[in-house]
Every structure is written in structure tokens, then in C-alpha cells.
Symmetry: C2
Subunit: 121 residues, 2 copies
């Protein structure tokens, strides 16, 4: 689990229209023009949201004629969410992106310049 990957996925999930698109695509695939109709926003808006979802690996596309049908990569999403839960449980040493922060934590433990932790909690 990499912080940057998690940030990208959660950012993609953190917008109501994209969440609704995902909730729909969980049911069946839709093409851009259908999503445009369904949500009543402009076609570029739909395309741009789908691009963000695609860059987060949450959807995939299938081009059929002049249409592009999008579907949810449910397996990947579910695996990602499970991995994130596991990541949280893992010890700090296993959290590669927090090397620097872990060093500072150790430093604080040894030399508590702030007085908030008189005895180990």
C-alpha cells in the first residue's frame, strides 16, 4: 500500500457525482452518452470524471463502434479497500512511506522536547 496510490483512489471516490457513477457502474456498464442523460450534466463533465476514475484504476473502458462503455473494476476496488484496512493494522515499520515520520517519532520518544508525555502512555 502506497500513500500516493491510496490518495489517488480516495480522491477519486471523494466526490458525490463520481460516487454515483460508481454506484451505477456497479450494476451494469454504461456509455458516456447514457451517463450524460442519466445525470443531466455536460458530456465533457462525464468524460472528465471517468478519466479520473480510470486513472485511479477504478473503471475500465470498452470501445464498441463510436461508443465507449465503462464498467467498474469492482475486484480491484474491493481488494484496495481490504488492503487499506490491513495496511492500517500493520506496524509502523512496515509503512514504507512513513520512514521519515517514524524517525521523528523515535526522536520524540528519546528526547521529549514537548512535555505532553510525562510517562509512556
Amino acid at each position: 500500500m502506497q500513500i500516493k496510490e491510496a490518495e489517488k483512489v480516495f480522491k477519486a471516490l471523494g466526490q458525490s457525482l463520481r460516487l454515483k457513477i460508481i454506484a451505477l457502474l456497479a450494476e451494469q456498464e454504461f456509455c458516456v452518452c447514457e451517463l450524460e442523460e442519466i445525470f443531466g450534466v455536460s458530456q465533457p463533465a462525464i468524460s472528465q470524471h471517468l478519466r479520473i476514475l480510470k486513472e485511479a484504476d477504478l473503471v475500465e473502458e470498452e470501445k464498441i463502434g463510436q461508443w465507449v462503455f465503462y464498467s467498474l473494476k469492482r475486484e480491484y476496488l474491493e481488494e484496495f479497500l481490504r488492503d487499506f484496512s490491513s495496511y492500517l493494522i500493520s506496524p509502523l515499520e512496515a509503512k514504507k512511506d512513513l520512514e521519515q515520520e517514524r524517525a521523528r517519532v523515535k526522536q520524540l520518544e528519546q528526547n521529549p522536547k514537548v512535555t505532553c508525555r510525562p510517562l509512556p502512555r
Copy 2:
């Protein structure tokens, strides 16, 4: 599962510093002044991120003297992630926030003004 709640949680998770804070708080609780030291950003920045996490129900605070210690609500977070996965599997009829969109999907099925779906896929 409500779209608005999910949006708030995912938005809170969709920022690298907040993700790192969460990853640390998963290990043990920290007070604001420690997080400030650990991450090397200003105290208001930490406070503001913690407020966003608190409003998403992801952390809770315990005031001890003049310090405020924050801890991760891991149970809530994990339950939320599981609920979100279940939500995606649930049928469209069960997705309360998508009433309007479901109506439009039905409308499209009955009267396909777009030609992208010649036969039911």
C-alpha cells in the same frame, strides 16, 4: 450507506498528509503538538486536518490537561469500508440516493433516444 457520508469520509481520506496522520494514529494516539513536530507543518495546519478527520468521524479526541490527544476510530473506518463494499453489491433499488438516476435509467431502457444499445447487453 449515504452518498453524502461516503463523500465526506473519502474526501477526508483523499489527502496524503491526512492519510499519513491516520496511518500514525493507527499505531498510537498523538497530541497536536507531537504531530506538528513529526510532520514539520504549522500547528494550525494539523488542527485543520484533524477537524476534517473528526467531522468525518474518523478520529476522536481526548483532552488531557492542556493537550488534546487524537486517536483513530479504526472500528468505524473498517466498518465503513466494509459497508461501502456491500453497498456496491446491493441492487440499484436499494441505493436510496439514486432514485432519480434509477428513474432515468428505466426511461432510457423504455425509450432509447440514444442508439448505443440496439439490443439489451
